[in-house]
Assembly symmetry: C2
Homo-oligomer: 234 residues x 2
Amino acid sequence: MQLFYAHKIEASKAFLDPEETRHCTKTLRKNINDIISFTDGCGGMYAGKIVDFNKKSCTLEILKTLETSDKRNFKLHLAIAPTKNINRLEWFLEKATEFGIDEVTFLLCQRSERKKIRLDRLEKVVLSAAKQSLKSIFPKVNDLTKFKDFIPQAKADFKGIAHCNTPDLPHLKNVLQQEVTEILILIGPEGDFSDAEVALTKEHGFEEIGLGTSRLRTETAGLAACHTVHLLHA
Amino acid sequence: MQLFYAHKIEASKAFLDPEETRHCTKTLRKNINDIISFTDGCGGMYAGKIVDFNKKSCTLEILKTLETSDKRNFKLHLAIAPTKNINRLEWFLEKATEFGIDEVTFLLCQRSERKKIRLDRLEKVVLSAAKQSLKSIFPKVNDLTKFKDFIPQAKADFKGIAHCNTPDLPHLKNVLQQEVTEILILIGPEGDFSDAEVALTKEHGFEEIGLGTSRLRTETAGLAACHTVHLLHA
């Protein structure tokens, strides 16, 4: 099954943006009256008939709603310091999208080596991974935010900070309750969070957590947290 | 901490191979009497003093045994069809090594697109990931093996085949008992295992398992299986 992304839905019509239109009508040579599957990225998945297209837009008539397999009974938000090597960050985004995640925020921490990201490029990684893995819910990707600005306004039922400064922190799987529905987890940069950063999170109700005995790279820790939350709810 | 790999240990002496010697004495400019940490890749980790080196070899006097954090109460063997894109396979190996895995076998399946691998290159990925994540146990990497040759001789207390041909297979986390110590899990190629392949495994005592509701790429499924086994034992 090939899944497209419709950026706009109005009554019984849906619309593909220029890039999706090109992919659909040029690369895959779909034509008027062909039926395709598409999602709005917010939980809706549909079958639709191509009723009109030009170079920049493709109009679909919605025929029916399709069943999706990625409905979750929790909301997962990961805030992660971008890795120095951008490929590692893109890899993390692809895999987290495959597993299923609702929101990703990039954190600018005290020990961050990377201080800039290209949000548009990262959003493309997410879109491509979401379509490939047939997701109907696309993660929201937030721009780089200063750690000290993010922490005081961060809201979730469970707020955890994963770090390695303290040995033998309780494992996320033993701390997180299955009933908790809004989950936020922080993952630090290559040099980990500073003690001052950990202290700030504790002032704002975050729990310190571990992710096992292995020394994990930033992007691996992010994925381990994401997969752990999924397993607890599976 | 910087970890080196000693390919030979004899009584109180350990030896680095040409590549590790170059890295240690040339790149990092270690010299006679410097003390370094090294592992034999089989669970032993040591501190040792450089007592002699030339271009091709470095001799260490073992000073003491170091504590390791990667002792496991289980043995995990993943047999996986190599992905068409070799980067995805290398990524899987790096991450599985980071989490901790004992053995990887590459499977040549009916629907495999990739029919060749460069084992020496993949072994280098494993070595580098193991050193980076301070592992004292290095995974054994086995060459490409025909599926029908591998299955009849495969031995483990728990043998599972993860596939998507049947909906709603029981999740690995609900099937695997924590007490089981030898675990073998099969992960198929991009087009999944064929029905005939699944049938063959069932004849040989494999259980069919699922890894959740998301449609996962081969390398992501491999990592999900690896991480699930770790979480169950954490």
